[in-house]
Amino acid sequence: MILKLKLVMFPLIAIVAGVLAGCESVEAWERGTLAKPEMAIVSDSLEAALNDHIYFSKEASNGGHSATGGGCGCN
């Protein structure tokens, strides 16, 4: 199981490094697209919170993008 995880992790690190290396400088007036609501990491915070909560109560994993919030009795 740990091996399978490692198989995914190393190519992922390589992709991340490659992506970061290829970054361009984007000037203030060129950032219109990045400011669009559909380009946010979290576009809909209520939907994201709902999904986090539902999947947390049905699956064994939690966390990822920020520190985990409060607890509940659903897991």
Binding site: E27, A28, W29, E30, G32
Partner: protein, 294 residues
């Protein structure tokens, strides 16, 4: 800027106000020197001179962001707002009101249209190239309103408590004291397009900008029919729509663009303004006014 300009300040500090007025006037002059197409050294003239030569001109941050703004307007108006459309004016003469002219030939219009179109312009990463000889850009539709906003920003940075700038009919209100000192609003009049003496409406504005676009002042008279000086860059013909559109927004560039776009869209202008969401007032050629401005 080619239009009348006026500055107003509230407050009794005469020395501060006159010193500020000098700074603000020189800011307006700075922008005129940079972007007027009539001046031989302006950035606009430099860009236009290279049209058709294949040479690319690298521009500074301010010019690049103005070009980007013009591009955003072009996209949001589906090509109706086009800063390359200036050369169409040679076909429609607004100086001569004697009604002795005839309509331009369709073939002349088509020839002129070959030299316009922002879609043809190569603009990216801060460089611009006009590929067709005779193509020209004109910041006239943006820089006057931008100057009003620059004046506002500069005045606030200098600590002006409350003031107003009027550039060719467009108004921008500014000041750092407006909320804290509970200043009363400025009273602005929207000009009546048909009776240029009295205002059509009076509006109280605390902060922000009011811009007006329309063809009540300049037009061509051909065989007794008025042709607007605002031209559709896709067809080459003058637009037919509202005599005057006024829009209120936080920034003067935004208000000015919205008003211009509404006039360019002709009959669809009012609907577009409703969807946009900014307060507006439209006056049609019959004098009927509609809009959301209180």
């Amino acid at each position: 800027m080619g239009s009348p300009c006026a500055l107003f300040f509230r407050g009794n500090n005469k020395k501060f106000n006159s010193a500020l007025a000098i700074k603000l006037e020189s800011e307006i002059k700075r922008l005129e020197n940079r972007y007027s197409r009539f001046l031989p050294d302006s950035i606009t003239t430099q860009i236009n001179r290279l049209a058709g030569t294949g040479n690319v001109m690298k521009v500074d941050k301010e010019t690049a962001s103005l070009l980007d703004y013009a591009q955003t307007c072009y996209k949001q108006s589906e090509g109706l707002f086009d800063i390359t459309s200036g050369s169409l004016r040679t076909l429609w003469n607004y100086q001569d009101l004697s009604d002795k002219q005839s309509l331009p030939d369709e073939s002349d219009i088509q020839l002129a249209l070959e030299k316009i179109g922002w879609g043809k312009v190569e603009f990216h990463h801060g460089s611009i190239c006009l590929p067709v000889a005779g193509m020209e850009i004109d910041f006239g539709g943006i820089v006057k309103e931008y100057a009003a906003d620059c004046v506002a920003t500069l005045a606030e940075r200098e600590g002006c408590v409350s003031g107003m700038v009027e550039l060719g009919g467009d108004i921008r209100i500014f000041g750092v004291g407006i909320e804290t000192e509970k200043m009363p609003p400025w009273q602005i009049g929207i000009r009546d397009p048909f009776n240029t003496g009295h205002p059509h409406a009076l509006i109280d504005l605390h902060y922000g900008a009011l811009a007006t676009s329309g063809d009540y002042e300049r037009y061509t008279l051909i065989r007794g029919k008025k042709y607007s000086h605002i031209l559709n860059p896709i067809t080459g013909w003058p637009v037919e729509g509202y005599s005057s559109v006024s829009v209120i927004a936080d920034q003067c560039v935004l208000a000015g663009t919205a008003a211009s776009l509404a006039v360019l869209k002709g009959e669809n202008g009012e609907q577009w303004l409703r969807e946009l969401g900014l307060p507006f007032l439209c006056i049609d050629p019959q004098g009927k006014a509609t809009g959301t401005i209180q």
